[in-house]
């Protein structure tokens, strides 16, 4: 019995570790480790979990893991289909279909190309992707925007094109004098007619604009209605680009945008930005708003929260988004955020200085809140290990009755540890990618406290799987 429970404990730990990794790791360079190390570490973890806990590996697709890992999981599941039983395959198939529907199309096309390179082309794979392609709202749009992707996908899954027009567009360009589909025809005309390029999606129009030598300013002004919301956000502030609409943006994305502005501009647009952040936070909090009582947060704005060149200011943006989200979750006026640098104005934070997490934690705990949320990459260095000691002493000496619940959310995957870095063994740690997932993550983190076993974890995963599959059907 004891043996069994220990195995259970290890299994539960492995599962949580994988979930943390799948939420945070993107195989890109981080502040402390390079892209190569990240990818190598992540590949190992995927293989380890796939071989040992295949059902859990598939069930992870139902959680809030990031798109990079979702695509990886789908790929690994399809590559190693022969390891699964028929029943497993049925569940996997449903999960894969549900996840593919939620993935951005460019990710799916990239995934199909990876499967093609791996020479995975069985009936099941073809069926899965044929279903996905069949569910696309407009293949004509995909043919223009993801031309190479759709072309290779069509070849790979043996897609019979119902309308010959699309087939001609992809495989026999220049054959038809004109197309009935307006986008396909605009693409044809854009080769020689400048006006036509403004009917195309932004990324495609950009190429044609360069070919026609259209001035960037004119181009940005006229193409704005065709650009997606994120594309508009990216070109915000450039000459000719119209102001982006901040309403309705996801919270973390908005925080990233705010941090991309210079401090002077942030101060000048304080009211607008704060309102937008508050509104996004309320939307993200949803039914949980104002239900968490007294909350304190320790937020990391040390130099390492600058992230890397490819994930610029991501950890800091997550901290900023959590700041506003926790404000919305806590009771009115019952929230206080402690930045490690000592900053008091959240809107003007910037990644600078060392990480004195220990002293900030002490500041936060002193006020006696019901919940303390730490958002940090876990590199506690002023002095090293103090945060862990403060938490240990707090738990063992000052608050053995668990009046205060502490949870640590970490936005950075530590390639060497195959997990996110922890502050103390007694404090549950969860990976976080988007602040919007915070309530769900706090739920998962509770499993890491050791009070819940594998059985409960499996129940939880089953429930999430059922919800997820049902949400797509």
């Amino acid at each position: 019995m004891a043996e069994e429970s220990r195995a259970d404990l290890v299994a539960a730990e492995d599962v949580l570790l994988f979930v943390n990794a799948a939420i945070t790791a993107t195989g890109q360079r981080e502040f402390h480790s390079g892209a190569g190390a990240q990818r190598l570490s992540l590949d190992f973890l995927h293989e380890y979990v796939r071989v040992n806990y295949r059902t859990v590996y598939a069930a992870a697709l139902a959680l809030d893991i990031n798109d990079h890992n979702a695509a990886l999981i789908v790929r690994h599941l399809l590559v190693s289909a022969d390891e699964a039983s028929a029943d497993d395959k049925r569940v996997e198939g449903r999960l894969i279909a549900a996840r593919l529907a939620a993935l951005p199309p460019q990710r799916v096309y990239r995934l199909m190309r990876a499967l093609r390179a791996a020479k995975v082309n069985n009936r099941r794979t073809r069926a899965i992707f044929r279903d996905w392609l069949g569910a696309r709202p407009d293949l004509g749009f995909d043919a223009v925007k993801y031309r190479a992707g759709l072309k290779s996908a069509a070849r790979h899954v043996h897609l019979p094109f119902a309308d010959a027009e699309l087939g001609d567009f992809l495989f026999r360009p220049g054959r038809r004098p004109h197309y009935a589909h307006p986008l396909l025809d605009a693409h044809r005309r854009a080769h020689y007619e400048q006006g036509a390029l403004y009917e195309l999606p932004f990324t495609v129009a950009e190429g044609f604009a360069a070919r026609h030598g259209v001035a960037r300013e004119t181009f940005l002004k006229r193409v704005a209605p065709r650009a997606t919301r994120l594309e508009r956000l990216r070109f915000q502030g450039r000459a000719g680009a119209p102001a982006a609409d901040l309403a309705g943006l996801p919270l973390t994305r908005l925080a990233l945008f705010v941090l991309s502005l210079a401090p002077g501009e942030r101060a000048a647009r304080r009211a607008e930005l704060t309102d937008a952040l508050r509104a996004a936070a309320l939307r993200a909090a949803g039914p949980h708003a104002r239900s968490w009582g007294r909350v304190a947060a320790v937020l990391d704005d040390s130099y390492s929260s600058a992230g890397s060149g490819v994930k610029r200011r991501r950890p800091l943006a997550v901290a900023l988004a959590c700041h506003f989200l926790l404000e919305a979750l806590a009771g009115a006026g019952a929230y206080r955020g402690w930045w490690t640098s000592g900053a008091t104005d959240a809107l003007l934070v910037r990644p600078r200085g060392a990480t004195p997490l220990g002293s900030r934690l002490l500041d936060a705990l002193e006020e006696g809140p019901e919940r303390v949320v730490v958002v940090s990459d876990g590199w506690d260095n002023a002095p090293p290990g103090l945060a862990g000691e403060v938490l240990r002493v707090w738990r063992t000496r000052l608050d053995p009755g668990l009046r205060t619940r502490v949870v640590h959310l970490n936005p950075v995957y530590d390639a060497d540890g195959f997990d996110v870095r922890r502050l103390a063994p007694s404090v549950p740690t969860a990976g976080i990618r988007d602040a919007e997932d915070l309530p769900a993550l706090v739920e998962i983190a509770a499993f890491a406290e050791g009070r819940t076993g594998l059985a409960e974890l499996s129940t939880y995963l089953d429930r999430r799987t059922a919800d997820f599959v049902a949400s797509v059907r």
């Binding site: 390492s304 260095n381 290990g385 103090l386 000496r397």
Partner: protein, 367 residues
């Protein structure tokens, strides 16, 4: 003046990356009236520069940059790589002196080279008393040419990464660089903004052979993590006191154990330049044998002798040996017999040591 007065600079919590430990030096407030700027030379192609010394000798070395000390009190800090108003634009500048006055209250000097030149020129003229053991060559040109080699910071394994991920403290004015917990270099400036701009220049500094080897072969250094004695903690006040005690304990341990060689050694200082209330010095260690770490360096001190700027270089064992040998010979008027007696050895053994140290050309060939 015989010791470094580091009052005002206190050690902060160390940050470890692989075998490199960086200990920040913090100032409660910046030194008033002195700022440092950097002047970049060369195009990064590791070309060597020629510096003319006072007595007609030449000094050739890789010199990436010079520092400009500004005690005019205007307090404008130049950003990394920009030129000061009115000064010549950064680029290849003819270097006439180790330290050269610039228009206004400014002095340009070559960091670390000032110290190295002091070491290289140690008894440079050769034997001062004409004993028949010395060769004619030695009497004519002394120790010329005198050559020492060092490693570029960028070539010290792990140092670049350690500096990249290092989180600079808000009040940080300096850093101590350890490789496998051997102190390799100390660097301190008057103002936190200067430090922020000059942090990366440590990569272009010179490091001794020992540091390079320790960094290459050493195991990752252990982090000194905080430990709180929880038996007497009854409330958050106690916990906070325990945290403060931890910080004090680390500082004391660092200053008395890890950096003792820097703080406690007595140095031979020689003044290079007087600038207003500040003095530019270079210093040499006592060249004691027996394994103790020895640093050469340069410092700017204020009126009360407190260090405003500091840069040191750890000599390798061989370099200490050479310094020791030259010191001993000079102390005994270059008489081999007397010197050997003082060192507790025989003249034959001493000549062997002189040869091994690379000073063979000083000795007359017998037979």
């Amino acid at each position: 003046m015989t010791a470094l007065d580091l009052t005002g600079l206190s050690a902060g919590p160390a940050q470890v990356w692989g075998g490199i430990r960086l200990v920040p030096l913090l100032r409660a407030e910046p030194v008033a009236g002195l700022r440092l700027h950097r002047e970049a030379y060369g195009s990064g192609d590791f070309a060597t520069e020629d510096v003319r010394l006072n007595d007609g000798a030449h000094y050739t070395s890789y010199i990436p940059h010079g520092f400009v000390a500004d005690w005019s009190g205007e307090g404008t800090a130049a950003a990394y790589g920009t030129s000061l108003g009115g000064a010549a634009p950064a680029g290849r500048v003819a270097l006439h002196r180790m330290a050269k006055r610039r228009p206004g209250d400014r002095l340009r000097f070559l960091p670390l080279h000032l110290a190295l030149e002091g070491y290289l020129a140690l008894h440079f003229g050769g034997p001062s008393t004409l004993w028949d053991t010395w060769s004619r060559e030695a009497l004519r040109s002394g120790l010329s040419p005198r050559v020492e080699s060092a490693y570029l910071g960028a070539d010290v394994p792990g140092l670049a990464d350690a500096l990249r991920v290092f989180e600079i403290h808000p009040r940080q004015c300096g850093v101590l660089v350890y490789a496998a917990d051997a102190l390799g270099a100390a660097f301190a400036v008057p103002h936190p903004d200067d430090y922020r701009a000059l942090h990366a220049t440590l990569l272009q500094d010179l490091f001794g052979e020992l540091i390079h080897q320790y960094a290459l072969f050493g195991r990752p250094a252990a982090e000194f993590t905080a430990r709180i004695e929880d038996r007497h903690v009854r409330g958050t006040g106690d916990l906070r006191a325990a945290v403060r005690a931890q910080e004090r304990a680390w500082r004391a341990a660092h200053d008395t154990v890890m950096a003792a060689e820097l703080y406690a050694t007595s140095y031979a200082f020689s003044r290079v330049y007087r600038m207003g209330g500040f003095d530019l010095w270079r210093f040499l260690p006592p060249f004691e044998r027996g394994g103790a770490a020895q640093h050469i360096g340069e410092a700017i001190t204020d009126r009360r002798g407190r260090v405003a700027y500091l840069k040191t270089f750890r000599l390798s064992e061989n370099q200490v040996r050479r310094g020791h040998l030259l010191r001993s010979l000079a102390a005994h008027d270059w008489h081999l017999g007397r010197c050997a007696q003082a060192l507790g050895t025989r003249p034959e053994e001493l000549t062997r040591r002189i040869r091994d140290a690379g000073f063979a050309s000083l000795l007359r060939e017998r037979g």
